[in-house]
């Protein structure tokens, strides 16, 4: 039984008389608790695909089913961690997380419970100490942690990560990847992540969805990453399965579907 299902999703952008087919016939099913990455060259429509799942963009034809029900408008059951964190700069870290909590649990939790739940989620990402700071007073990695806390606090059925580590330096990125892995282990979320980093995809995912180049991008190949969890970054470097998976993704991206416009 599919938990999240993209069913024959097409996306066509129309500007005046010019039409561009961005996505063509995307079919993907994701099981509950699965960590799925979407990888592809820039411009292949992977962000569009995530936005369609989030409900921020409408599919031209086809649709998205979550627990057998169609979803076509944004909602907290599909919380997004945005690439550029998108924290509201006039709210403190705490208030940014609380905003979502107040909406989602307006009826089901008391004020005190909502406060406790907000703090609990800030603790999960180790950001409770900065709860009264404003976004411009904390580092990029910290902002992204708060962004993750905000999404987690909405108790989403699916967590959508839109290149969540793209804007971070390599060390912070590694640190945050470990945090996300630990959270996934602990909470068992269903996660759909966009990335363009091969190592990141192999390290974090249960399955890697490889996209062909646009226009009319479609799913070229899906790779199972059969590595046991918890995964340790250092041990994996020499693990034959890891190396093989990495090799497969690299071959797909750089041999079979080279990004011609890049050079």
């Amino acid at each position: 039984m599919a938990y999240l299902k993209l069913d024959h999703v097409d996306k066509v952008f129309t500007r005046g008389t010019a039409t561009t087919e961005v996505l063509k016939d995307i079919n993907l099913t994701i099981e509950k608790g699965e960590y799925v990455s979407i990888i592809g060259h820039s411009g292949c429509g992977k962000s569009t695909m995530l936005n369609i799942v989030a409900g921020l963009t409408q599919a031209t034809t086809g649709g998205v089913l979550l627990e057998e029900r169609e979803v076509n408008s944004p909602g907290p059951d599909r919380a997004v961690v945005f690439q550029n964190h998108s924290l509201l700069p006039w709210l403190t870290v705490y208030e940014n997380v609380r905003l979502g909590v107040d909406k989602v649990f307006a009826k089901s939790k008391t004020r005190a419970e909502r406060d406790a739940w907000t703090m609990h989620n800030l603790n999960l990402v180790q950001m409770a100490h900065a709860k009264d700071k404003r976004p411009n007073e904390i580092s990029g990695g910290m902002k992204q942690r708060v962004g993750i806390a905000r999404a987690l606090a909405m108790e989403p059925k699916v967590l959508l990560l839109d290149e969540p580590f793209g804007a971070l330096d390599a060390l912070t990125r590694a640190h945050l990847q470990d945090s996300v892995m630990a959270l996934h282990q602990k909470l068992g979320n269903t996660i759909l992540m966009i990335t363009h980093d091969v190592d990141e995809a192999v390290l974090l995912s249960d399955r890697i969805v490889m996209m062909t180049n646009g226009p009319s991008a479609h799913i070229g190949e899906v790779l199972e990453v059969a590595l046991p969890r918890p995964r340790k970054r250092l041990e994996l470097a020499t693990n034959p399965t890891y190396v093989k998976c990495r090799q497969r993704v690299l071959e797909f991206l750089y041999e079979r579907h080279r990004f011609v416009e890049a050079a």
């Binding site: 921020l56 998108s86 700069p89 909406k103």
Partner: protein, 302 residues
């Protein structure tokens, strides 16, 4: 400033004021060597740096003015005469002999009250209309061209029309204030709303804020820097307009006070009134700037 001018001895006065201000603060603070004292010294220096230069320029200006206008037969009175003529008005701003024979405080109060009412309405209407134009493409297409034409109409041109409509000076003056200050508020608010990053809209969509919450929690804070730019321009314009409007509608108010003084050839009173108008305009502008700074401390730095 004009106090010593009475003694007719301005030249030496300039230097002492400047140097005492600077040295006095330093001397009193240096004995205490605690870091707190040092901080006060630093603060006093910063204040001195800002306050002393304009004071010197002002003193020089007064001096030149005095020299130019002191000879008999000059059209305008020198500062010493201005002070002597308006002594009563300066030291007793609260008298009230009925009618329009009142102290300057009451005239300024009446003008400020009109500005407060007209400007408050303009702020509310301006932000509301600005939000509408910024948010809805159709509202912008329909309203923006009309507003662009209306906003070029000089404030006073509205006065006869509003007198005809309201048949009374008081609401007409308030209307002129409103119509003068509302345009920059509308236009700046609309720009601010249009410039709200898509990211914030996405966040609101995922969290599922309803339109009212979106307005209060996203739109207003995100557009606040723009809104306050409009509010600041608006308060300046309304203070400009009130003096002119009051000259025409009469009654109590600083504008009519000036006009009345001109009719009675009290040139010194005009100069005093202009001084007050300038100071209050400056204070109003600073006031909105400070409020804006406090309100937008989160957004502006981003």
């Amino acid at each position: 400033m004009s106090m010593p001018a009475l003694i007719n001895d301005n030249a030496p006065k300039v230097v002492p004021t400047a140097s005492t201000a600077a040295t006095a603060s330093v001397v009193t603070m240096t004995p205490k060597q605690s870091p707190k004292a040092e901080r006060y010294v630093k603060m006093a220096r910063e204040v001195a740096v800002r306050v002393v230069p304009p004071l010197i320029v002002l003193a020089l200006f007064m001096l030149i003015w005095e020299l130019l206008c002191r000879r008999s037969g000059s059209a305008l009175p020198p500062p010493s005469r201005v002070f002597a003529d308006t002594r009563e008005l300066i030291f007793d701003p609260f008298f009230d002999h009925g009618g329009i024979d009142k102290g300057l405080f009451w005239h300024l109060e009446a003008s400020l009250r009109r500005v407060a009412i007209g400007y408050a309405i303009a702020a509310v209407v301006g932000v509301a209309l600005g939000t509408l134009i910024g948010q809805s493409v159709w509202a912008m297409r329909g309203l923006d061209p009309i507003f662009q034409v209306l906003r070029t109409i000089p404030p006073l041109a509205w006065l006869p029309l509003s007198l005809a409509a309201f048949r009374d000076g008081q609401p007409s003056a308030i209307f002129v204030i409103f119509i003068t200050s509302v345009w920059p508020i509308i236009i700046n608010t609309a720009v601010g709303i249009r410039n709200i990053p898509q990211d914030y809209r996405n966040v609101a969509a995922v969290v599922q804020l309803n339109p009212l919450e979106f307005f209060a929690k996203i739109m207003i804070p995100a557009a606040a820097p723009y809104i306050f730019t409009g509010l600041r321009i608006g308060i300046g314009l309304s203070w400009l307009a009130i003096v002119a409007a009051e000259m025409l509608i009469g009654g109590v108010g600083i504008g009519f006070f000036i006009w009345d003084a001109w009719n009675s050839s009290h040139i010194s009173e005009i100069i005093l009134a202009l001084f007050y108008v300038g100071i209050i305009g400056f204070v109003l502008d600073r006031l909105i700037a400070v409020v804006g700074k406090v309100v937008t401390r989160g957004t502006a730095t981003n």
